[in-house]
C-alpha cells in the first residue's frame, strides 16, 4: 500500500515544532508501525534529510518506551502499544484507503515536554513513584515468602493493576492531562496486597501530592485513559485511589518526608 505520513518535527525542547508530510510506497500489511517509521528514516537518509527521532526499545509491548499519538489516538486505533500496532490494523479501518494520510504526534501534555520530534520526557511518572510507590523493605530483611498467604482474588486484582507499563498513554489521552490511571494503578497494586498495608495511607497522600506538583490535571471521570491503556488497567483503580485518599484524609494522614 501507499501512504502519506504527517509527522510532528521539533528540533529540541526549546524550538517550535511543525508538521511535515512524507509519502511512502510499497508498505506491506505485516509491517509493524515502527518498522514503517524505520523505513521512512532510511528513505529520509537516502534523500539527505534528517531521520525522525522516536523512542522504542523492547518492540514487544512491555517496556513502555514507545508511544505516539496516531490519527488523534494514543498508540493508534487498536488497544495496544505503538510497537505492537501493525499496518494491517490500520488498514482494517473502512476509511483507510490507498494513499491515506496518517498523522503522528508526540504525547501531548504539559507534564511531558517534547525533547525532539516524537520523543517526550516522562520522568514525572518516576517522580510520582519516588514519592511513595513502593513497599519499604530492605534487601535481606524479607520474611519467608509463604509466611503471608495472599487471597487469590486479591492477588489477581493486584496483578491487573501491576500490569501498567508506565507508557503515559493515559495522560496523553486525557483532556485534563491527568496521570490518575497510572497513579491509581500503583496504589491499587500495592494497596491490595497485605505487604502494602503499613504504608497504604501515607502512600496515596504522598503520590497524589507529587502528581499534582508535576502539573498533571485532576480526574473528571471521562474514561479516555482506560480506553487507550494498552494493558487494560481498569478504571476501578482510580476509584480505589479515591477511596484510599478519602480514608487517609479522614484519618488525618499527612504527607510524610
Amino acid at each position: 500500500m501507499n501512504i502519506k505520513l504527517k509527522i510532528w518535527r521539533q528540533k529540541n525542547q526549546d524550538s517550535e515544532g511543525h508538521f511535515e508530510e512524507y509519502s511512502m510506497t510499497g508498505i506491506e500489511e505485516h509491517m509493524s508501525f515502527l518498522e514503517v517509521l524505520d523505513l521512512l528514516n532510511e528513505q529520509l537518509f537516502a534523500e539527505g534529510e534528517e531521520p525522525v527521532a522516536f523512542d522504542s526499545d523492547c518492540r514487544e509491548g512491555i517496556c513502555g518506551q514507545c508511544g505516539v499519538v496516531i490519527n488523534g489516538q494514543a498508540h493508534g486505533p487498536i488497544r495496544s502499544t505503538t510497537c505492537q500496532l501493525h499496518m494491517r490494523h490500520l488498514a482494517e479501518d473502512p476509511s483507510f484507503k490507498d494513499g491515506s494520510t496518517i498523522t503522528i504526534e508526540p504525547w501531548r501534555s504539559t507534564g511531558f515536554p517534547v525533547l525532539k520530534d516524537l520523543i517526550v520526557d516522562r520522568s514525572a511518572l518516576d517522580r510520582i513513584v519516588q514519592a511513595g510507590g513502593y513497599i519499604s523493605v530492605n534487601t535481606g530483611a524479607a520474611p519467608e515468602a509463604h509466611s503471608v498467604p495472599v487471597q487469590k482474588d486479591k492477588a489477581d486484582a493486584a496483578f491487573e493493576a501491576a500490569a501498567c507499563i508506565g507508557c503515559g498513554a493515559c495522560v496523553a489521552a486525557c483532556p485534563n492531562a491527568s496521570a490518575m490511571l497510572f497513579t491509581g494503578a500503583k496504589i491499587s497494586h500495592l494497596g491490595l496486597l497485605p505487604q502494602g498495608q503499613p504504608e497504604r495511607l501515607a502512600r496515596v497522600v504522598n503520590m497524589l501530592n507529587q502528581h499534582d506538583a508535576e502539573g498533571f490535571g485532576g480526574c473528571t471521570n471521562i474514561g479516555e485513559c482506560a480506553a487507550v491503556c494498552p494493558k487494560s488497567v481498569p478504571l476501578e483503580v482510580i476509584t480505589r485511589l479515591n477511596r484510599d485518599l478519602g480514608h487517609a484524609l479522614w484519618k488525618g494522614q499527612k504527607a510524610t518526608a
Binding site: E50, D57, C58, C63, G133, G140
Partner: protein
C-alpha cells in the same frame, strides 16, 4: 611474545579465581567468604562513591541495595526510565530452590541442573552460590509486592520449565521479568527519594576510566544534549546486559549493546567465552526484509504445544490442518522420547534448523544468503500445535494458560493459534559470554565489578530457562553488596582519586575524537544498513552451526565491512543534540570488534557444547560432541591492542562436586 596461533591469536598465562575459599566444602564457601570480607562502618559509607551502569535486574537490585547500605550511588542507563531496562521483557519465570512442590528439589539439585544444563562449562563455586541464594530472592520479591501467581490457598504457584524435571519456576503470568523489575525499580526509586542514589537517565557510558590499574570512573554521553562528562568513583559496577544485538536480529531490545563491556575490555578487562550464544527455540519467525527484531514466545508453550513439520517437503505449503497425523513428523518426540518437546533449548533449536535445512520448513519462503553469498529462498518455521491440548484440556483451559501469548502471536502474525498451529523458529536470545569475573564478581581490573548478563559466570555454554532472572537478582541483591564491601573497605584507606589525573582527560578526549571522526563521515550508507550486514555474517557463520572455514570467512568479511563503514557510512544530524544515528554508530563500532572476537573464540574451540555447535565435532547420530580432555576451560580473552591479535588466558574448570558426563536427552 608467544607465537601466533592460526594467525589469529596468542596464548597467555593461565588464570584462576582466587576468591572462593576452597578450604571449606562448597556448601559453606559463600558464608565463609562473607565472613572473611572486610566491612565498612555505616558512617563511612556515604563517603564512598559507587557507579552502577544499568538499571535492569542486576543493576537495579545492586544500586538499590547499595543505596540502602548508605553508599553514595550513581546509576546510569540509556532508557528514559530505570523501569524500562531490558529485563522487563522476560516472560517465562524465575527459578528458586524452595521445594514448595515437595518434588525432591534442593539447592544441590538446582546447582546440579544448572551445571549440567550449561554443558559443564560454568564454574562450580559461582553456580552453587546462585542456587544457595535463590530462595531468598523469592522472599525479597514477595515482600516488595511482586504479584507472583498464586494458588487458591494463597500460596505461590510453580511450574516446570524447559529441560528440568521439577517444578521450581515462579512466574507472574507471562510478565515475570516486568514484575520483578518493577520490584527492583521501586526499591531503587525509594533510594532516589532517600538521596542515596542519583539516577542518570538517557545517559550512555562510552568509556571506562582506569587509573593506577583500578577502575575509577566512566565517561558518559548525555543522549539528550550530547554533552560528554566524566564521573569518578571508588568502584564501578557494570550491569549492562547482553550483546545479542551483534546479530542485528534477536529477541533483545533495540538498544541492547556491548559498548560498556567492550570499552572495559579494551582497557584490560578479560572477555570470557564470547562465542557462547543461546538461541531460543520458540520465537516468531522472520516475516520480511525490514524486520527490526524477533519476538520470543514463552518457552512455557512447549509444556502443551507439540512441535512438528510435514514428513514430505511437498506438503510444506499445504494448510497444516489438511495434513493428516500420519504425514506429520513430531520430530522431537521421535528423536528424544524421554524429553520430547521439552528438550533443552539448544537441542530444540538445532533440530528445528535441521528440519528447515532439509527442506521441510513451513511458512513463507524468506530470502537468505548462503555461505557463498548466493541468494536463496528458504522456509524458516516449524509448527507448534495446540490442537491436541485444546482437545484434551478444552479451549478455556488452554486460553487460561496461554491466552496472552496467543493474543500476542495473533497480533503480530495475523493468524489465530486456536485455529491454525503457530509457526516458530529459533532466534538469538541470550549471550552467555561476557566479562570475566571471579567469585566476588570482580573483573581482572580491580574495582570493576560485573553482574547479570554482562558477566560470563553462571551459565556455562547454555543457559537453562528461568535462570538469568535468578542470576541478575542474586548478583544484585545478595552478592555484590557483600563482595563490594570488601573492596570498598580498602578504598576507604586508599583515598579519593585525583580529579586532575591525566587518565581522566585522556578518556574523555578519546570519546570526543571518536565522535568527531564519526560525524565527519560523508558516505552513502546508513548505520542500520551496516548493522544488518554484520548481523547476516554473524548468523550465517557464527550462529547455530559453525565450521572452521565459515568462521575464517566471517573474520575476513567483518574486517572488510568495518573498513567499508569508515569509507562509506554517514551519520546524520549533529553531535551536540539528541542523535539516534550517532548512538547506533558508536555501538556498531564496538560490535564490529566483538564480532571478530566471537569468531576467533568459536574457531579455537573445536568442540560442540551448549548452543555452540561445531559441525566438525558431532557424534555419529549428529549430536553435539564435547571434548572435555581439551576444552575444559573458560576462554578469557585479553585485548591485544589496536589491530593486534587477542591473547587467550585459560581458566581450568574443575568439577569436584559434580561428576562430568556427556549430556544425553535421548
Amino acid at each position: 611474545m608467544t607465537e601466533l596461533i592460526d594467525g589469529l591469536y596468542r596464548e597467555g598465562e593461565k588464570i584462576a579465581d582466587t576468591k572462593a575459599p576452597h578450604d571449606v566444602p562448597i556448601a559453606q564457601r559463600w558464608e565463609q567468604r562473607k565472613f572473611n570480607a572486610n566491612l565498612v562502618n555505616p558512617a563511612n559509607r556515604r563517603k564512598l562513591d559507587v557507579i552502577v551502569v544499568g538499571s535492569g535486574l542486576a543493576g537495579g537490585a545492586a544500586a538499590a541495595s547499595l543505596g540502602e547500605q548508605g553508599y553514595n550511588v550513581k546509576c546510569f542507563f540509556y532508557q528514559d526510565s530505570a523501569r524500562r531496562a531490558h529485563s522487563i521483557a522476560a516472560q517465562g519465570g524465575i527459578n528458586a530452590a524452595k521445594n514448595y512442590r515437595n518434588d525432591g528439589d534442593s539447592v544441590y539439585r538446582l546447582f546440579y541442573d544448572t551445571v549440567k544444563g550449561g554443558d559443564y562449562r560454568a564454574r562450580e563455586d559461582n553456580v552453587y552460590r546462585l542456587a544457595e541464594v535463590s530462595a531468598a530472592i523469592i522472599d525479597q520479591c514477595v515482600a516488595q509486592g511482586v504479584p507472583f501467581a498464586r494458588e487458591y490457598g494463597g500460596l505461590l504457584d510453580n511450574r516446570s520449565f524447559g529441560g528440568v524435571q521439577v517444578s521450581r519456576t515462579f512466574y507472574a503470568r507471562g510478565q515475570t521479568g516486568q514484575q520483578l523489575l518493577i520490584g527492583a525499580y521501586q526499591a531503587l526509586e525509594r533510594q532516589v527519594r532517600a538521596g542515596t542514589v542519583k539516577e542518570y537517565r538517557r545517559h550512555e557510558m562510552v568509556e571506562l576510566i582506569v587509573i593506577d590499574g583500578r577502575a575509577r570512573g566512566i565517561v558518559t554521553r548525555d543522549m539528550v544534549t550530547g554533552e560528554i562528562a566524566t564521573h569518578l568513583a571508588d568502584a564501578v559496577v557494570l550491569c549492562t546486559g547482553g550483546y545479542g544485538n551483534v546479530f542485528f536480529l534477536s529477541t533483545n531490545a533495540m538498544g541492547c549493546n556491548a559498548t560498556a563491556i567492550w570499552r572495559a575490555h579494551r582497557k584490560g578487562a578479560y572477555f570470557a567465552n564470547p562465542c557462547y550464544t543461546q538461541i531460543h527455540p520458540t520465537c516468531i519467525p522472520q516475516s520480511g526484509d525490514f524486520q527490526s527484531k524477533l519476538t520470543l514466545m514463552s518457552e512455557s508453550l512447549r509444556n502443551d504445544g507439540r512441535i512438528w513439520v510435514p514428513k514430505r517437503a511437498e506438503d510444506c505449503d499445504k494448510d497444516p490442518r489438511d495434513i493428516p497425523e500420519e504425514d506429520r513428523d513430531y520430530y522431537l518426540e521421535r528423536i528424544y522420547p524421554a524429553f520430547g518437546n521439552l528438550v533443552p533449548r539448544d537441542i530444540a533449536s538445532r533440530q528445528a534448523k535441521n528440519m528447515c535445512d532439509e527442506g521441510r520448513g513451513v511458512g513463507p519462503a524468506i530470502k537468505e544468503r548462503d555461505a557463498q553469498g548466493n541468494e536463496r529462498m528458504m522456509r524458516r518455521g516449524v509448527y507448534l500445535d495446540f490442537s491436541e491440548a485444546i482437545g484434551r484440556l478444552g479451549r478455556d483451559a488452554v486460553s487460561a494458560r496461554y491466552g496472552n501469548l496467543f493474543e500476542m502471536y495473533q497480533r503480530i502474525t495475523g493468524d489465530d493459534p486456536y485455529e491454525v498451529p503457530m509457526r516458530i523458529y529459533p532466534a538469538v536470545h541470550y549471550t552467555m559470554g561476557g566479562l570475566w569475573v571471579d567469585y566476588d564478581l570482580e573483573s581482572n581490573i580491580p574495582g570493576l565489578y560485573v553482574a547479570g548478563e554482562a558477566n560470563f559466570s553462571d551459565h556455562g555454554a547454555n543457559r537453562l530457562g528461568a535462570s538469568a532472572l535468578m542470576q541478575g537478582l542474586a548478583d544484585g541483591y545478595f552478592v555484590l553488596p557483600d563482595t563490594l564491601n570488601d573492596y570498598l573497605a580498602d578504598m576507604l584507606r586508599e583515598g579519593k582519586v585525583d580529579p586532575d589525573a591525566p587518565e581522566i582527560a585522556e578518556a574523555r578526549k578519546s570519546v570526543e575524537d571518536r565522535i568527531d571522526r564519526l560525524m565527519a563521515l560523508r558516505g552513502t550508507r546508513s548505520v542500520d544498513d551496516f548493522h544488518m550486514a554484520l548481523g547476516r555474517i554473524m548468523w550465517e557463520y557464527c550462529g547455530m552451526e559453525r565450521r572452521e572455514e565459515g568462521l575464517r570467512e566471517a573474520i575476513g568479511q567483518i574486517r572488510a565491512l568495518k573498513e567499508e563503514f569508515w569509507r562509506d557510512a554517514r551519520i546524520t544530524g549533529e553531535a551536540m543534540e539528541l542523535n539516534q544515528a550517532l548512538e547506533k554508530a558508536g555501538r556498531l563500532l564496538d560490535f564490529f570488534e566483538l564480532a571478530e572476537l566471537m569468531c576467533i573464540d568459536a574457531l579455537h574451540r573445536r568442540e560442540s557444547c551448549g548452543g555452540h555447535f561445531r559441525a566438525e565435532s558431532q557424534t555419529p547420530e549428529g549430536e553435539a560432541l564435547r571434548h572435555d580432555d581439551e576444552f575444559l576451560y573458560v576462554a578469557a580473552w585479553e585485548w591485544g591492542g589496536e589491530n593486534q591479535p587477542p591473547i587467550l588466558h585459560k581458566e581450568d574448570l574443575i568439577y569436584k562436586d559434580i561428576e562430568l558426563k556427556q549430556r544425553s536427552y535421548k
